[in-house]
Symmetry: C2
Subunit: 457 residues, 2 copies
């Protein structure tokens, strides 16, 4: 496998330049003003897949942003790897906290700094380049299909239907995804679990117009005060979520498995230092890794209402809003959870306000078995390039579409993520170490090799 | 007094045109970009006072926005009425709820629609015109001094010092103010009480940067979740404020006085209808009028944090903020309350966050005795023009500077407000009925007449 390191070394500058071309298009899927950018990014991906050696590639329409599909079929009898990734990115606010412009990528201190540097342009692009490497060096051992979507950051609302309609086209043996992280720079890991998600928006209406808080304060319910009470009541003093029925379908993880999980390297002091907090906070009775790995959570992702400008304005606003999301674990059903949330939120609303609850999006949790061939192949690949056996980890994040793939296509996914916690994905100053970018391109061909060998028996 | 109605009738169109000139300058004191507009508005006021017949008028600098001072001394032995008002206005957001532009005044359905139409450009300008009326018809019975400030909506931070430094200049017998309301269009009222105010801003910091709510949700404290818990805990299930010591200095109003207050005309169903709420909410054990008149209140005037744009962003923000104000009653000291709030807010903050508390501004409550001459004169004046005896009311609002006047200048104020609840002051679509505007100009000369007669014995 000498050719791998050599090819990466010879083409590393071009790889970076090409990635920058992708990053420069501000493909923020949650903001409708970027609709054109989504198309541009998809077209760019198509070009890169074709240039890398695909037999064909096309930008396929969906009800939302298009999916980039590409393939190289070398022998129908050989296994088929489906590479899944996404070309859309998160919004960039608060923009003033960025040290360099989010869509003008630059390299500083050995890191790529830009929105999408890691999530998921940087990580997905490693697969385009690893594929190119295998094609150009005549070492591609199986068929490859690319499925790069543009709506992952808004919950992949169109991809389920796209899969339903293209089952034949998307037939394959394993879905290979790099959209997760590793424990640390020198500790490779394979994500064996993902949490599900139910993302809600709530609106609380008090009076029908903004009121003077002097004249009405104390007599008319203030929708912000009410909203804070309602949100506060969603978790009890043990940080247990109080929505009736919320935990009904939570799969209890055995003490044995929890003990096994507890062996993963984790330094709580380092963790606290990384986010600069004096104390952690989470559900009573569970460790930090368990709180994100095997337990659900409820977070207010945004809240707004009333006067938020400079100085003081004495107002009782008519409305207050919050975006509230819940991370789910097997076997919680995000649709059922969204309904339970809505019913509960309406139930606890006092008669002095009106509430509206909207289900913004959701997805199922996913568990990847460590005894499947793809897991074993990934394990061997990391071991080959990092000289270290990777650690199986349950991540707190969600890639809702992963469980949808299994439901619709019947295909399992293997999550080979190369990101780091310090990559600040979804935050200002997102970055991706060059080391991880190149190491990823290097590790992927090993996965193909071992996977095809093991599949052949 | 036939000349009064006649003069108003003859000049009513010009009065309105002149008021519109004032309104068109967007003198929002809380937004620093309007600094120049403050000066322009002050200069405009100076012109109007001079044109109305003052001996002199000037724009006097303060540490903040200037004060417009003007006077007409007809005889030092006669009483002196000090007219207080303010030329600054509230911000206009949410701007999209306005039916016409806030600084382009227009008359629709017999109302003036604009920011400041009532509060306080419309109401203060009535005094300039009533003064003009008395001067031009040779009926001014005493000396008049105008003191029109530009910082009332941000708590009059410079006016206390201005009064200290100009005690001699501001000597007078009564301060006459129109910056409050009447019970209804056909029920004139005199405001005999104003609440004090302590206005705070709080900042809650969790992690040092925004985090991905999937990866960290459930393990790292979310500052919005924490802020909602902290705010929710500030009031108990009876809407009693829980800050230790908060009620220590609240003057208990006797059952007798409460019974007297209870006689004021008030229709709870009309009140609910006006703001379109199914139920009211306030401190247990008190009526609606008592809740705003004699009891303190706590309102969140603004809250913000995290992602508030379109769609979904799965973020745990680094910071969350709120503007929280407390309306105070005699004898609560706003400085002491601000300290109690700060100490309590810091005390209840869990170890997983850092909090910052800022005292934005404050003021004392004020009570105006109904047995003073000015009250009796106002009572007679309203009776003359409305054919109805005015009702004494304790308002929930605050004009912090009123109690400062008494402390520094030793002068009481009489609050002859002509606004209506439906004027939507501080809100979108602020308006002021032409009826009230002209009726105010008509009533004020009666006050001067009766006040000077009664002062003479």
């Amino acid at each position: 496998m000498e050719h791998v390191k050599k090819y990466v070394e010879e083409h590393k500058d071009r790889f970076l330049e090409e990635l920058f071309e992708l990053i420069r298009i501000p493909s923020i899927s949650s903001e409708s003003e970027h609709k054109d950018d989504m198309l541009k990014t998809a077209e760019k991906w198509k070009e890169f897949i074709l240039a890398a050696g695909a037999d064909k590639a096309e930008v396929m329409p969906t009800e939302g942003n298009p999916v980039v599909y590409g393939e190289k079929i070398i022998d129908p009898k050989l296994p088929t790897v489906i590479v899944y990734g996404h070309y859309d990115v998160m919004p960039v606010d608060p923009i003033d906290l960025w040290k360099s412009k989010p869509f003008e990528p630059e390299v500083r201190d050995g890191h790529i700094w830009a929105r999408g540097a890691d999530d998921d342009k940087g990580q997905a692009f490693m697969h385009a380049k690893a594929f190119e490497l295998m094609v150009k060096t005549n070492t591609l051992p199986c068929n490859v299909k690319f499925m790069i979507e543009g709506e992952e950051e808004i919950g992949s609302p169109s991809l389920g239907k796209f899969c339903e309609e293209n089952k034949e086209l998307l037939k394959g043996d394993i879905i290979l995804v790099s959209d997760t992280g590793m424990i640390a720079k020198d500790i490779p890991s394979i994500t064996t679990g993902l949490r599900g998600l139910a993302y809600m928006e709530v609106e609380v209406t008090g009076p029908n117009h903004d009121l003077h808080s002097g004249l009405f304060g104390g007599a008319v319910a203030n929708p912000i005060n009410i909203l804070t009470k309602m949100i506060a009541s969603l978790q009890d003093e043990n940080n247990h979520i109080t929505i009736p029925g919320f935990y009904d379908d939570v799969l209890v993880v055995s003490d044995e498995e929890r003990a096994e999980m507890g062996k993963a390297p984790f330094d709580v002091e380092e963790y606290k230092k990384a986010v600069d907090v004096a104390e952690l906070l989470g559900e009573k009775g569970y460790s930090t890794m368990e709180r994100t790995g095997i337990r659900p959570a409820l977070d207010v992702n945004g809240i707004w209402g009333g006067y938020t400008g400079e100085g003081a304005k004495t107002v009782i606003p008519s409305k207050a809003y919050a975006k509230i999301s819940m991370r789910l674990v097997p076997d919680q059903d995000h649709k059922k959870i969204a309904e339970l949330f809505q019913k509960h939120f309406e139930n606890i609303a006092p008669g002095c306000v009106k509430v509206k609850v909207q289900d913004l999006h959701g997805g199922y949790a996913y568990v990847s078995p460590t005894d499947m061939i793809a897991y074993k192949a990934a394990d061997k690949a990391y071991t080959a390039t990092f000289n270290k056996k990777p650690v199986p980890v349950r991540s707190g994040g969600s890639i809702p579409i992963i469980s949808t793939f299994e439901k619709i296509l019947g295909t399992k996914s293997i999550l080979m993520g190369f990101g780091l916690e310090s990559d600040a994905i979804h935050s200002p100053n997102e970055n991706y170490p060059l080391f991880n970018f190149y190491k990823g391109i290097e590790t992927i061909p090993y996965f193909y090799k071992y996977y095809v060998e093991m599949m052949a028996g």
